[in-house]
Subunit: 324 residues, 2 copies
């Protein structure tokens, strides 16, 4: 059945159940002009918004299925909240849908949205559905909370800080290349692209361990490290050989005769974290959460990133994914 | 200059100034992964989201200019907050932009956004900009506040209530017809379509005067009155001759040989309010805010709307603007 046959209200009826995964703060959920919710005493609110456009951010049945699109539209927002050190609490979302879209695909999209919201105990508070001329545009706005004064900016890096990242970098854009070539195997890379994991748990630990500056890696390590350097007015010195890269990504780079560093520095959508903090705090963090790796240090400077590769040094340009 | 020549970061630099029109509650505005803000003690939060799609919701230089699109994308959200009785406080927004869009148009769009935000003391906390394949899609998510337990649902209408609306109904869709025919005159109708006024002040008075149920009229009076009747499980009895219609809309209907009631019942985007409350409260409201008109009463029933037209009665079908 096409969405045009089901109609707007039929569609809302089909998806409005099973949307509150932490009902306590919700006063009014889906079904009125607006949703109403309570906030927690002593907490500040975090707000983010992110859009995915069909054939720009995803190609259906090639880079992922509708389920993945729903999952990822929420994941990118939760990652932005994690990148402030916050706990996500609610989303509202808007879908612009082509009239000939199959209802099955839409249901699958909402399954993806609901499953990640369930995992993170995030409520779906409401939404808007409109007609697009061609292809889907999905926008999610997410809210979260953080203890007063504790939000971690990208502008707080200080000389003497350690620079570190979570897990491994570059898997998502490696996975995208594998998917676009319809290549077998490389399941870790494909999974990293289709189901990135917002680092909410780590973000909370970074608040606990006095992290000075923090970004999520949505546009590649080159772009994100430069953002911290520029916002903090310091120099980040990164050691290339220290950057954690997965064996699968190395294998894919060998097989596809591509440069592994292209994925690491200029890829996107890893949704890992890059952060800076004092060495003692970093070691305390590592004792509690081992999947973090020092990749450099912060020096005084004026907003650039120096990449050290063996005996050679070069300025790392902020070349990441740009939208225009 | 095209947006593709300016680039994403150039664009953000061009619009990031002049975004906070009530800076006190804002901890972190545009420029980090997420925005951070404080909420007020004793208040609950209202969240809404709304999307406008080019050539579906607007046709540039025909139904309005870019400035109007920005204004209206915010206005429809503020209207949803007014329809809960809330005070709007912040927005985040996302624009999907065709690469060949002129930068002048984008600046004008943001001027419209900023001007209405300035009028209502609403902060622009952040946004996302992505590429669309064709045409613009703009999504605004707005937040607001309301005193604990005071949000006005659409489900609270009680037998014995008065049914009332604000100002006059149908001007916006009348104005759309005038604009689509590129007809001279009818400035009130055109203005109603291009610059609808979110009824925030009246929404606050409806909280003060114990309003029982409330909707904004975004999809026509037929649809919105039926929503209240259905959600409240009552019958709304509306007196056709009591519904306030502007002289300009009547004149346009005569000149264009169209049925004036089509605009009133089945038009959209008026963003006036329809509400129900006890007669004594309504009269107290009228003493403070005169631009409200009783159009009917609430009877016990099971979710429908009876339209009384002189001696004849008929059930008013919930036929409004639908998106599929």
């Amino acid at each position: 059945m096409k969405i045009s046959e089901l109609g707007e209200f039929g569609f809302i009826d089909a998806i409005k159940e099973d949307t509150l995964f932490n009902p306590d703060p919700v006063v009014i959920g889906i079904g009125d002009d607006g949703a109403v919710y309570k906030t927690s005493a002593g907490m500040e609110q975090v707000a983010v918004i992110d859009t995915m456009v069909e054939n720009s951010h995803f190609i259906i049945h090639r880079t992922g299925d509708w389920y993945d699109v729903g999952y990822k539209a929420v994941a990118s927002n939760l990652s932005d909240i994690a990148a402030m050190g916050g706990v996500p609490t609610h989303i509202v979302l808007s879908t612009a849908i082509a009239p000939d879209m199959e209802v099955d695909g839409l249901v699958s999209l909402y399954d993806g949205i609901k499953d990640i919201c369930r995992s993170y105990h995030v409520n779906i508070l409401g939404g808007d559905t409109v007609t697009s001329k061609e292809g889907m545009v999905i926008t999610v706005a997410a809210f979260g909370e953080i203890e007063e004064g504790k939000a971690i900016r990208r502008s707080g890096a200080r000389p003497g800080d350690i620079v570190a990242v979570s897990h491994t970098i570059g898997n998502s854009s490696g996975g995208l290349a594998v998917l676009l070539q319809n290549h077998d195997g490389y399941s870790q890379l494909k999974r990293a692209h289709r189901f990135p994991v917002p680092q909410v748990e780590l973000g909370r630990l970074l608040v606990k361990y006095n992290c000075h500056s923090l970004n999520d890696i949505s546009d590649g390590l080159a772009s994100e490290s430069n953002e911290i350097a520029k916002a903090s007015d310091v120099r980040l010195v990164l050691k290339k050989e220290a950057i954690p890269v997965s064996d699968e990504l190395k294998a894919w780079a060998r097989e596809s005769k591509t440069n592994v560093w292209k994925y690491v520095f200029n890829g996107g959508e890893d949704y890992e974290l890059i952060f800076t903090m004092e060495p003692a705090d970093f070691h305390a963090l590592q004792a509690e959460y081992s999947d973090v790796t020092q990749i450099g240090v912060v020096r005084s400077g004026s907003g650039d990133v120096l990449l050290v590769d063996g005996d050679s040094e070069s300025i790392l340009a902020p070349t990441g994914w740009t939208h225009f």
